[in-house]
């Protein structure tokens, strides 16, 4: 059972990691705790519903799955569609709310504004799609048995693989590309970056796009393995924050490790404590990290 819980933890940790990357970046570079980030996961997942509804005109996206997965190529297109749409949504929010506020308002105002935005976003999902759960496909995927009696669903392995690919791609982007390097510069010191000729507006837009795309992909893949509800993202907000804080804000690998630690510890916790206390585990992790290493595992101490 231990191994099974460990594997489950890694798989659910991968989703948290994908979501936490964006949260961690926005926290570091835009300098506020964005509580509306989790709603981007929800919107990402529902954008894919819209895509499937439109693609349904050309045929059922789940009709010709690529074995052993439950989906075919349309899912990959849906991922791109949803990432783009969610990025647009994030940029609109930035322009309408966060950019205006960041000029005049303080840190706490931004945090509360993000609460408000989160509420709006969630209730718009309710309004448009209704409260009933939605499934991309109600076909059930059965787990395959790995040596050691561990059961995993192929879709989840795909998800883990995709996370690894995205993290590597982001790593290359941050270290090799000019935009990536500028992004790190802005996160270090925005004023210094600006006087060195970095266009901070463009960089901030990039941060939103990366964060929103990660959230969208996490949302779609999460929706694929369970079901879509308007509370999809909201239910993940604590694990996301725990992962971002645990890893250290602004750190790519920190967010990934943070996500995995949160996922694994949530799943392993049911072996020692009653399962009803499982949602408290991220709280405990946040407390422990803030107490022993406030800058996070991979974060840099602010000087």
């Amino acid at each position: 059972m231990f191994l099974q819980h460990l594997v489950d933890g890694i798989l659910s940790g991968a989703i948290i990691a994908l979501g936490a990357i964006g949260l961690s970046f926005t926290m570091k570079i835009l300098r506020f705790a964005n509580f509306s980030h989790s709603e981007l996961l929800t919107w990402g997942a529902y954008f894919a519903v819209v895509f499937f509804a439109m693609a349904g005109v050309f045929g059922n996206p789940f009709a010709a799955p690529i074995a052993p997965f439950s989906f075919g190529w349309p899912l990959l297109v849906a991922l791109v569609f949803s990432a783009v749409s969610t990025s647009v949504l994030a940029l609109v929010l930035h322009r309408l709310v966060y950019r205006r506020l960041s000029r005049t308002a303080g840190h706490m105002t931004m945090v509360f504004a993000s609460f408000g935005v989160a509420l709006l976003l969630r209730n718009f999902v309710l309004l448009i799609f209704g409260a009933d759960p939605i499934y991309y496909s109600t076909a059930l995927q059965f787990a395959i048995r790995l040596p050691g009696g561990i059961r995993v669903m192929p879709d989840q392995v795909f998800l883990l693989g995709l996370t690894v690919v995205i993290v590597i791609a982001l790593h290359l982007f941050m270290t090799r590309s000019r935009t990536g390097i500028s992004m790190r510069a802005v996160s270090e010191n925005p004023d210094l970056a600006r006087v060195s000729g970095v266009n901070t507006d463009t960089i901030i837009a990039w941060v939103w796009v990366i964060g929103a795309s990660g959230a969208a992909i996490a949302g779609v893949l999460y929706g694929l393995t369970v079901q879509l509800r308007p509370e999809l993202g909201f239910a993940l907000i604590l694990p996301l924050f725990a992962a971002a804080i645990l890893g250290g804000t602004g750190s790519l690998y920190g967010a990934v490790i943070g996500g995995l630690v949160v996922g694994i510890s949530e799943n392993l916790s049911v072996m020692v404590i009653p399962s009803t206390y499982k949602p408290a585990v991220p709280f405990l992790l946040i407390l422990a990290v803030l107490y022993f290493r406030p800058e996070g595992l991979f974060g840099e101490r602010n000087t």
Partner: protein, 421 residues
């Protein structure tokens, strides 16, 4: 300043006085309902709320109560106790209702009862709360008699679950249950009952509502290689759990509680995966009054009354309205005292049709006791406000929900006596 105060005080007193005098025969008469029309039980709750409104419609067609139309004031509990208590408070304090129908979950009904209904001396009648905590509370005298329900308690549900497991020959059963008053009570009883019938429990796993995924809970329940799963859940979370359970290699031998007897649940999981599932539910006795309710429902909603709580909420509303008709003055205490008068075993039988209700009102006007026989048959509240009901077992055959067994009230009572003995 003092003059202004005097005028204010006078005005206030006048308003209150008028309101107080008018309340006795104010039309329309209000009946409060606190039900979960959104949230994790929204799918079930909405149908229950509509059926409650239907009962009020039928009564209004028969001329209403005390010559007044009845207004059905519905408030959403969202399945949460805090929201439910607020809703009940506003119904009692602002709308002035003297009787509350609801809630669905025991975890909501209980705080409403103890912090609103009993202190305000208002009758509360639930269609669906089956926790045994209410019986215990009533035995201690803490409900002051204001609590009623038209739905049999958990005691019979866990007994039925255990009976199904033993009839099927299951030896090792895992239990996944919702972490509410209802779920915990039912699961713990099931554990005792199953042991009496020779089965064993491999694991007892509680889950919290409204989570996106239940992998960890399902994995924990898979430990010990169970040959069956007793699932106490509601449709939305229940579908997630069942899907993850089956995906991860759990057995298709499911035993489910009555709240999962819902098309939404079957559809979300997929009928083809649920062919080995067996459920139980409260059954309607084989009586003409039940058939006539079913026909009325079919005519009104263009579909049969399939789903938890529909028959029982209809009767909850009807009995309360008849008790109101019998009360000289509409106070919670009068309604409470008349609840047993309209269901008395030596009364004249009346049915919940328009004609039946008109006859009932004539009998009441003549001061005669009546015996309401409705959608759940002849109700009889015991000293704690509880009722007994026959039970049935069901399964899916293809996409149709079919009945596989029927247990009369006496048979259920005998089973419980055997398990308790």
């Amino acid at each position: 300043m003092t003059r202004l105060l005097k005028i204010l005080a006078f005005g206030l007193a006048a308003t209150l006085g008028v309101a107080g005098a008018a309340s006795a025969q104010d039309c329309p008469i209000k009946l409060g309902a606190i039900l979960p029309v959104s949230g994790p039980m929204g799918q079930v709750g909405e149908r229950i709320a509509e059926t409650g409104a239907f009962a009020v419609e039928v009564m209004n067609e028969a001329g209403g109560i005390k010559g007044c139309d009845v207004e059905y004031v519905l408030r959403d509990t969202q399945g949460q106790s805090t929201v439910g208590v607020d809703a009940a408070k506003s119904l009692v304090d602002l709308e002035g209702v003297q009787a509350l129908v609801g809630a669905v979950s025991s975890g909501v009904s209980l705080p409403v009862l103890t912090s609103v209904a009993v202190p305000s001396k208002v009758v509360q009648i639930s269609c669906c709360s089956s926790s045994e905590s209410f019986t215990a509370l009533a035995e201690e005298g803490k409900t002051e008699g204001y609590w009623f329900r038209t739905y049999a308690t958990n005691r019979s549900q866990s007994a039925m679950g255990a009976l199904v497991a033993s009839n099927q020959g299951y030896k090792k059963t895992a239990v996944i249950y919702v972490n509410t008053d209802f779920g915990v009570g039912l699961a713990k009883r099931f554990e005792q009952d199953l042991a009496k019938l020779g089965g064993t429990i491999t694991s007892m796993v509680a889950y919290n509502e409204n989570q996106q995924s239940y992998r960890a809970e399902v994995t924990a329940a898979l430990a010990g290689d169970p040959d069956s799963l007793f699932l106490v859940a509601f449709p939305v979370d229940g579908a997630t759990i069942t899907r993850e359970w089956l995906s991860l290699g759990g057995t298709g031998n499911l035993i489910v509680n009555n709240s999962l007897r819902s098309d939404d649940y079957f559809k979300a999981v997929g009928h083809q995966y649920l062919q080995d599932m067996i459920g139980y539910d409260s059954a309607q006795p084989r009586l003409p009054s039940v058939d006539s309710f079913n026909e009325m429902f079919q005519a009104r909603f263009d579909g049969p009354p399939n789903g938890p709580g529909l028959h029982s909420v209809f009767d909850a509303v009807m009995v309360t309205l008849l008790a109101m008709e019998m009360s000289d003055e509409l106070t919670g205490t009068n309604i409470r005292d008349n609840m047993r008068m309209v269901t008395s075993s030596d009364g004249t039988e009346v049915y919940p049709t328009v004609e039946g209700l008109m006859k009932a009102k004539e009998l009441i006007a003549a001061g005669q006791p009546i015996r309401y026989v409705g959608a759940t048959g002849a109700l009889q509240f015991d000293a704690n406000g509880d009722v007994q009901a026959p039970k049935m077992t069901w399964k899916l055959d293809g996409e149709t929900n079919v009945e596989t067994g029927y247990y009369t009230t006496e048979e259920v009572a005998a089973l419980i006596a055997r398990l308790d003995g």
